[in-house]
C-alpha cells in the first residue's frame, strides 16, 4: 500500500486524540495484513468517531481515501459484530435516523429522538432543548411523508436490509 506513515492525516485529524488508533496508526495496522490487527481495527472506536470531514485525504501526499476506508470498515465491523462500546450511541443514532427515513422518506426529528432514546436509554438528554425547539418552530410534531414511500421501502430492502448483497 502506498501509505508511508508520514502522519499528516493524524496531525490534522480533529478527533485523533479521542480515538483508540488515530488514522495513520490504523493504516499501519491495515498494512501488516494480519487478522489480529484487522480485528483490532474493527473493534476500535476510531471508525465510529471519524466524522468523514475529509481533512486527512485533503492533505495526504498519497491521496489515500481514508474516509471511504472508514465507511467500509464500519460495514465490516457491524457484519463481524466486534463493536467498541463507544460505538453504541453513534450506531444507535444512525439506525434511528435511517429508520425514520425508511418509513417517511424524510427525517422526522421527533421519531429520530424517540428511537434514539429507546435504544440508548438516554431518556433525559436534551429534554431542556426540546421545548425551545418546538417554540421556535423547528420541531414538527408530525412527520412529513413523501408520496413514493413504497419506493423508499424498496430501496432499503435491496440495500441495507439485504446485507448478503455484495457491497458495490
Amino acid at each position: 500500500m502506498r501509505c508511508y506513515q508520514c502522519g499528516k492525516c493524524t496531525a490534522g485529524c480533529v478527533l485523533a486524540s479521542d480515538m483508540n488508533y488515530p488514522p495513520s496508526y490504523l493504516m499501519r495496522l491495515l498494512q501488516t495484513g494480519t487478522k489480529d490487527n484487522y480485528e483490532k481495527i474493527l473493534s476500535s472506536n476510531s471508525i465510529w468517531l471519524c466524522l468523514n470531514c475529509e481533512n486527512c485525504v485533503g492533505r495526504c501526499p498519497m491521496e489515500i481515501d481514508i474516509p471511504k476506508m472508514m465507511d467500509y470498515l464500519r460495514t465490516q465491523a457491524i457484519a463481524y459484530d466486534k463493536l467498541h462500546p463507544d460505538s453504541k450511541p453513534i450506531i444507535a443514532f444512525h439506525q434511528s435516523f435511517l429508520d425514520s427515513i425508511k418509513y417517511t422518506g424524510r427525517l422526522y426529528e421527533m421519531g429520530l429522538i424517540a428511537a434514539f432514546k429507546a435504544r440508548t436509554f438516554r431518556l433525559t438528554q436534551d429534554l431542556a432543548i426540546a421545548p425551545s425547539m418546538y417554540l421556535k418552530g423547528k420541531l414538527h410534531l408530525l412527520p412529513e411523508k413523501i408520496k413514493d414511500r413504497r419506493g423508499m421501502k424498496r430501496i432499503f430492502a435491496q440495500t441495507i436490509e439485504n446485507v448478503k448483497t455484495k457491497n458495490v
Binding site: 506513515q5 508520514c6 499528516k8 492525516c9 493524524t10 485523533a16 488508533y21 496508526y25 492533505r59 501526499p61
Partner: protein
C-alpha cells in the same frame, strides 16, 4: 562473383548447445558466392580472429560474415580484424546466432535451420555491401558553459585549465548562483562565500575564460564540434569598460525598496544595483522595470553621481555570435516558495520561510547581518519549527521525488540557530533522515546529540497564526500517532527543489531531452550521468536533478573532462552509417525533387538545403543534403522519401531487400 568468407562461432557452448554449428558452416559453404566457410569455438579470440585474417588473404575474400553473438558485442572486434587484414570494415557483417537464435530456442532441427536462414540473409546482404570510409568532422576547440553557479564555475575552470577557451554565460548580473546565497555549507560548516568567491575571482581573471554576465543563450545551431551560439547580452545600462565599481550610484539611487532576489525576497535593493557585495563582476546593472528613468523619464541621479560617465541610457540588448565545439549545461535549480503550500498559509504568514530564506537570515551578508530575526517584527525567535519534506515526496502536490539536500540543510539550519540563539528551542518534523554522503550521518547526529535539536517523526498538517505566534499542528508517529502542537515564533519549510525557471525553453532550444519535472535528461542514469542524448552537450550540477555541492563539483569536473576529450582531437571520427542523398550526373543531378519531407521527418535537424548551380552561377534546383556530423542513421527520412532519393549507407534499400528476399525465397 563474390568471394565471401563465413565464420560460424560455437561461442563456447552458447551457440553450439542448441545449434548444429558444423551443419550451418557446411550448408553455407555450398552457397553461391561463398568461397570459404568454417566453424570454431571462439571466433572473437586471438586464434579465431587470426583464422579470419588469414582467410581474407588466402582466398582473396571480398566480404566476411561472422555467425556469432550480437553485433553490439563484437562487431567492432571483427570489423577491426578485417581492417587489419586489408578488407574494408564495412564489408564485414555479423549474424546474431546467439541472442536471436540459440539463446531463445530449444535444441532442434528448426533451430539449426533458423540459424542457417540468418546466415544466408547476411551473406546476401554482404554481396551488396560497399566499402565505406569513416567520416571526419572538424572540432572547434571552444566550450560554452551555460550557468555561472558552482557547477558552471567548476566546469569552466577545469576546461580552461586544459588550455582550451571557455565562454561562460550567466543570466544574473553576477556569477555564484545559489551557493553564494548560503551562509555555511554542510558537513563542515565552511562559510559558503569564503570558499566560493576565490573561484569566482579566478573565473573572472582566467585568460582562457570569457565571462558574459546578465546574458542568456538566444539560440544554438549546428552539431558536435561545430556549434554556432547566439548570445543575448542584455543591456546593463552601465558601461563596464569605464565603470570602476565605486558604488556611488547605488548609494544615491532613490528607488530603494525593490525586493532583493539575492535575499530571497527578505531584503531590498535599489534599481541600479549589484546583487551582493562580493559579486563578480562587481559592477552594477540597472533594473529597467523598476528604474524611474525607464518608467517615466525622470530621475537620472546615478548619471549625475557617476564620476566617469558610465551610464548608458540608450544601450540596447546586443546579440553576439560565437563558434563553439561543446556545451556544458549548468543552469542549476530553484526552490518552491511558501505560497505553494495551502496548509502552511499560502505564503501569507511573514514568519513562515523557505530554507533559502533562512540561509539569508543566517548569512553575515544577509538582510539581518546574520542574526536570526522574525521578518514580521524583528524579534529573535525563541522557538523555531523546521518542517522537512515540504512539497517533496508528495505525489498529491505533483512532486513525488526526494529533493536530496533538505535533510542535511535542515539539520544545518537547526544547528546554526542553536549556535546563534543559545536558549532557543528548535524542532524538526521529519519523515526519514537521508544523510548518505561522507560525514553526513555524523553531522545529523551532532545536531541531535550536541546541539539538542528536537527531532519528531511525523508530518505537519497545518500551520496557522494566532496572537503573533505560529501554531504548528504536527504528529509523532513513533508514539503511535500522538498529536503534537507547538507554538512557534518561526517556521522554516524545507521546500522542494525544482528545475530552474526557463529550463524547458532552454532544453527545447538545445534539443536536449528533459523529464516531466523539467530536469535535463542524462544519456544513461547509471553510466552516463554527465552526457545528454544530444552529442556535444553535457550536464553538470542540479539542472539534472537536485544534488549537493560535492556531487555538483564532481559532475562539473566530469563534464569538463568529456569536453577536454572531445577537444583532444582535431577531428571527430564518426561511423559512416548515415543517410546520403543520391547524386547523379547533370542534367539530372539527383532524383531528389526538393520536397524536404525528410527535413520534416528528421529528429536530429540533419537535413540541409543544397543549391545546385549552373556554370554561370544561376540556381538550377535546391535539393536535400545530409549533414554528416548530425545524422544518426535512424532511417526515418528514408521511409518518408517518396522518390527513394535518400538511403542509409551500410543499410541501403538494396541490402535490406536482399536480406528479406533471401528469407522469402527459401
Amino acid at each position: 562473383m563474390s568471394k565471401i568468407g563465413v565464420f560460424i562461432c560455437h561461442c563456447g557452448e552458447n551457440i553450439s548447445a542448441t545449434v548444429d554449428v558444423e551443419r550451418v558452416a557446411r550448408e553455407i559453404g555450398g552457397m553461391e558466392g561463398v568461397a570459404h566457410a568454417i566453424d570454431y569455438k571462439y571466433m572473437c579470440s586471438d586464434p579465431g580472429q587470426t583464422f579470419i585474417k588469414e582467410a581474407i588473404k588466402k582466398y582473396d575474400l571480398d566480404g566476411v560474415v561472422v555467425g556469432a553473438c550480437s553485433p553490439r558485442m563484437h562487431e567492432p572486434t571483427f570489423r577491426k580484424a578485417c581492417a587489419e587484414a586489408g578488407l574494408n570494415s564495412y564489408l564485414c557483417e555479423m549474424a546474431n546466432l546467439r541472442e536471436h537464435c540459440s539463446w531463445v530456442h530449444e535444441k532442434s532441427e528448426e533451430t539449426t535451420e533458423k540459424a542457417i536462414d540468418l546466415v544466408k540473409m547476411l551473406v546476401q546482404k554482404v554481396k551488396k555491401n560497399k566499402a565505406l570510409e569513416s567520416i571526419k568532422v572538424p572540432v572547434t576547440k571552444k566550450a560554452l558553459v551555460i550557468g555561472g553557479g558552482i557547477a558552471g564555475i567548476q566546469a569552466s575552470l577545469d576546461i580552461a585549465n586544459t588550455g582550451h577557451q571557455v565562454i561562460l554565460v550567466e543570466r544574473d548580473p553576477s556569477i555564484g548562483g545559489h551557493m553564494s546565497q548560503l551562509s555555511e555549507t554542510f558537513p563542515t560548516l565552511d562559510c559558503s562565500q569564503c570558499i566560493l568567491t576565490p573561484r569566482m575571482v579566478e573565473v573572472a581573471q582566467h585568460p582562457n575564460i570569457k565571462l558574459y554576465t546578465y546574458a542568456e543563450l538566444e539560440s544554438l545551431e549546428g552539431f558536435i564540434g561545430n556549434f554556432t551560439a547566439k548570445i543575448r547580452l542584455k543591456a546593463k545600462s552601465v558601461n563596464y569598460s569605464t565603470c570602476t565599481g565605486c558604488g556611488a550610484c547605488i548609494q544615491k539611487c532613490p528607488v530603494k525598496k525593490i525586493p532583493s532576489e539575492f535575499n530571497a525576497g527578505l531584503g531590498v535593493r535599489t534599481a541600479i544595483y549589484v546583487p551582493f557585495p562580493q559579486a563578480v563582476p562587481n559592477k552594477p546593472v540597472i533594473d529597467r522595470i523598476n528604474c524611474n528613468y525607464y518608467k517615466r523619464g525622470a530621475c537620472k541621479i546615478c548619471e549625475k553621481t557617476c564620476q566617469v560617465g558610465s551610464i548608458e541610457w540608450d544601450k540596447e540588448d546586443e546579440i553576439i555570435s560565437e563558434q563553439i565545439g561543446a556545451v556544458v549545461l549548468a543552469t542549476g535549480f530553484d526552490v518552491k516558495g511558501t505560497d505553494f503550500f495551502p496548509e502552511y498559509g499560502y505564503g501569507k504568514f511573514k514568519d513562515v520561510l523557505t530554507g533559502l530564506q533562512f540561509e539569508r537570515l543566517a548569512s553575515a551578508s544577509g538582510p539581518t547581518l546574520g542574526e536570526i530575526r522574525r521578518p514580521s517584527d524583528g524579534a529573535i525567535p525563541k522557538k523555531i519549527v523546521f518542517i522537512a519534506c515540504a512539497g517533496s515526496r508528495d505525489p498529491a502536490k505533483g512532486i513525488p521525488y526526494c529533493s536530496k539536500i533538505c535533510c542535511m540543510y535542515t539539520a544545518k539550519h537547526a544547528m546554526l540557530y542553536q549556535h546563534k540563539v543559545h536558549d532557543g528551542e528548535s524542532t524538526v518534523f521529519y519523515m526519514d533522515i537521508r544523510a548518505g554522503g561522507k560525514n553526513y550521518e555524523e553531522f545529523v547526529r551532532r545536531a541531535i546529540e550536541e546541539d539538542t535539536v528536537n527531532y519528531i517523526r511525523g508530518r505537519v498538517a497545518r500551520v496557522y497564526e494566532k496572537d503573533g505566534k505560529l501554531i504548528v499542528k504536527g504528529v509523532d508517529t513513533l508514539l503511535g500517532g500522538q498529536q503534537v502542537e507547538i507554538e512557534a515564533d518561526m517556521v522554516v519549510l524545507a521546500t522542494a527543489g525544482v528545475a530552474n525557471c526557463g529550463s524547458e525553453q532552454l532544453a527545447q532550444k538545445l534539443h536536449v531531452s528533459y523529464d516531466p519535472y523539467h530536469f535535463f535528461a542524462e544519456a544513461h542514469p547509471k553510466l552516463k550521468p554527465v552526457e545528454t542524448n544530444t552529442a556535444g552537450i553535457f550536464l553538470a550540477g542540479a539542472c539534472q536533478a537536485p544534488k549537493d555541492i560535492p556531487e555538483t563539483v564532481g559532475m562539473a569536473s566530469g563534464a569538463a573532462v568529456k569536453v577536454a576529450a572531445l577537444f583532444s582531437k582535431d577531428e571527430l571520427v564518426r561511423e559512416p552509417i548515415i543517410a546520403v542523398v543520391n547524386r547523379l550526373a547533370p542534367p539530372l543531378y539527383s532524383t531528389c525533387v526538393g520536397c524536404f519531407m525528410c527535413e520534416t521527418a528528421c529528429p536530429y535537424n540533419a537535413i540541409e538545403h543544397e543549391e545546385i548551380k549552373g556554370r554561370d552561377g544561376s540556381l538550377i534546383r535546391t535539393i536535400a543534403k545530409v549533414n554528416e556530423g548530425l545524422c544518426q542513421g535512424c532511417g526515418t527520412c528514408v521511409a518518408f522519401c517518396r522518390s527513394k532519393s535518400i538511403d542509409i549507407q551500410g543499410y541501403t534499400n538494396e541490402q535490406v531487400y536482399a536480406e528479406v528476399m533471401s528469407l522469402l525465397n527459401d
